[in-house]
């Protein structure tokens, strides 16, 4: 099991409590084995889909076959440490506006698993401190 979790908030949803990203062990093994494509492969797919949503054509949307196949055909980036894999995962699975822009306080933090409160009532009241 990963030593890490990622706590994040969405500045576009200020009423939403802090969320917790939980890495998959199977995916981490792939990352450590060097089997991941460049992160830009996923961003290209996300951009195309977001554009389809914005233009109201998501119902019939299909990825460009070449861009989709790049997930397996693009050159691999090589083995990552667990810490590097978590950073990669942040950029892949957390919405981009949360980690790519500066706010007046942190919007995400990578923490040790045991640092995440297991009590839901406590976590629902959480805010990420500077």
């Amino acid at each position: 099991m990963s030593k890490y979790r990622v706590i994040f908030e969405d500045p576009e949803q200020p009423e939403q409590s802090a969320m917790v990203l939980v890495p998959s062990d199977n995916w981490l093994e792939e990352a450590k084995a060097g089997l991941l494509p460049p992160i830009s492969v996923y961003w290209a797919l996300q951009d195309d889909e977001q554009q389809a949503i914005a233009e109201g054509r998501h119902a019939t949307f299909k990825h460009d076959p070449d861009k989709h196949a790049a997930q397996w055909k693009a050159p691999r980036i090589g083995p990552l440490t667990e810490e590097e894999a978590i950073e990669y995962l942040v950029m892949k699975d957390i919405p981009r506006h949360i980690w790519s822009q500066e706010y007046n306080r942190p919007m995400f933090k990578i923490v040790k698993t045991e640092e995440v409160p297991s009590d839901r009532q406590f976590r629902n009241a959480w805010r990420i401190a500077a």
Partner: protein
Amino acid sequence: MATIKLQGNTSGSGSIILTAPNTNSTRTITLPDQDMALGGAGSLEAWVNFKGTGTISIFDSGNVSSLTDIATGRYNTNFSSALASANYATSFDNTSYHPNNVSVNSSLEGGPNLGTVVALKTTSTVRQTVGTNGGNFDTAQCSVLVAL
């Protein structure tokens, strides 16, 4: 010693292609001891089985890079590899235990409008909501199946 026999079809000239996995692993396909025809109705694209209480954790998964614990009874399943289309089928399940013995159900989160669903069911992620008629609820075991 078993033999392998490849047989063409007189009704068509299509090819059989076996593609190796995208890892250095050797994978074995073991067929059942009976005649059968493989269906062409798509395939399981992703699955996950996880603990939804406390600090959530993944028991096991396939093509899932992470889960996002959004709030009580609300979870995103994030796919390792994006799917080709967002028009996939989903199945959500959960353990039924609730302290007051009311039923607990899982479903795709979304409002009555298709537009509400769109942002929560993309080729990269899908959101599950678990709850009773009294509100969202965390259960000990949840699962998600995605087929396309």
